[in-house]
Amino acid sequence: MLAKRVIPCMDVKDGRVVKGVNFVNLRDAGDPIELAQRYDEQKADEVIFLDITATHEGRATTVALASRASEELHLPYCVGGGFRTVQDIRTMIAAGADKVSVNSAAVEDPTIITRAAAAFGSQAIICAIDAKQVAGNPNKWEVYVHGGRKNTGIDAVQWAQKVAACGAGEILLTSMDRDGSKDGFDIPLTRAIARAVDIPVIASGGVGTLEHFAEGIIEGEADAVLAASVFHFGTYTVRQVKEYLRSQGVHVRL
């Protein structure tokens, strides 16, 4: 039986791990590969490097990071952030990334998902969705782009269905309301998206306790749970999270 996944996520800027709280206030959390190897030892199922560098030089650093990761890591990894074209994606996959995640570029032109999936397979293309609840409407969320700064007005559930139809292999769903809050995943959002699509959904944004991880899978119906700072700053090890999940009846690899 397929195990539910626990995925540490590293925000990477100029080759170093940082963590944004509500997408601001960056703190240095170290070398991406060293951290990833530590997570591998703790039984992380994969890792995600999110490139939050804006400059051309910074992008080149991230390609070099992907290349180094393919040499030193023996677990799957995804690189996300800043892809504009299929050629950008090709460069990252050629450098060694197993998967890439696409966000803003897909909103501007959803065919980038179709074209990238045709070239590299759906399993290699994750569509990242940053969603924020519409004020006064607890069951409606809209898609934000450009690092959460710009509201597109697109309904998140419909967008999820659209990207799945375009050939995305997974959805990385981040709640803008919960990200950095430590209040737990946005369960209604996660469940709404998980039920709307037939591709895996990775829940992201808001984890503060062990219970939150279990809620994301059991109540949110997510296939994988993602967290950053609770891992980077040593609040929990990945193994502790998985042991807790197993104690709650969730099937995990330990």
Binding site: L75, P76, A94, G96, P200, D223, R253
Partner: protein, 214 residues
């Protein structure tokens, strides 16, 4: 030298680095003559069956690999590389394209529902266990030496091989499908050992032992 066969686009470095991590001397090669002189052949999993089949036929790799497998040279097919051990595949085919034909049968899309009608997500992505097949002897499969039944490996695929007497281990998703196959010195794994952490490196180490000890 272990030839990691480059049969089109894609990243093969992680396979090469996985073999290097357990002490193997692996080179990424596309030239059929170089493949023919290699001590062992690894066919990694990149792309779709039809593309790989066409590219390997055109380059002459298909014929060389077939010959070397027939001569008993150790072979490891990973993911699509396992698929290519079979006679035919439907992925991207019209309706099927030829594989190496070492193992009979057709590689086809994984169904998205089980027998009871329950829905499963395809592609099958993530960590899953490999389980023994009734009648097959896990203990005799050198690729699995020291690996317990129920060990987790990383999978990412939408197509599956058919079960037959070459099946050594099975994995359960919407249906049970072959996750380790063997015919003589030719092995195939549906999972990615190079992405399966310590358990995956153990499989690559076992393959290296097969290469060294013959």
């Amino acid at each position: 030298m272990i030839a990691v066969v480059d049969y089109c686009k894609g990243n093969l470095k992680s396979v090469q680095r996985g073999l290097a991590a357990v002490g193997g001397e692996a080179e990424i090669v596309s030239d059929p003559a170089r493949i023919a002189s290699a001590q062992a052949i690894v066919l990694p999993g990149v792309g779709a069956f039809a593309d790989a089949s066409a590219s390997m036929l055109q380059s002459g790799q298909m014929e060389v690999i077939r010959e070397r497998i027939a001569q008993g040279v150790p072979f490891l097919g990973i993911c699509l590389g396992l698929h290519l051990l079979f006679a035919e595949g439907t992925e991207g085919g019209n309706p099927t394209e030829p594989g190496l034909g070492v193992i009979p049968g057709v590689v086809d899309r994984m169904p998205s529902h089980d027998e009871a009608g329950a829905f499963y997500k395809v592609p099958h992505v993530g960590w899953n266990t490999i389980e023994p097949v009734q009648g097959a002897n896990w203990g005799d499969c050198r690729l699995l030496a020291g690996i317990p039944a129920g060990e987790y490996f990383y999978f990412t695929h939408s197509y599956i091989a058919c079960e037959n007497d070459c099946t050594v281990a099975m994995t359960q998703h919407s249906v049970a499908f072959p996750s380790v196959v063997q015919r003589g010195n030719a092995y195939g794994v549906q999972f990615h050992p190079e992405k399966s952490s310590d358990a995956g490196l153990a499989v690559l180490r076992n393959f290296l032992s097969i290469v060294k000890e013959g």
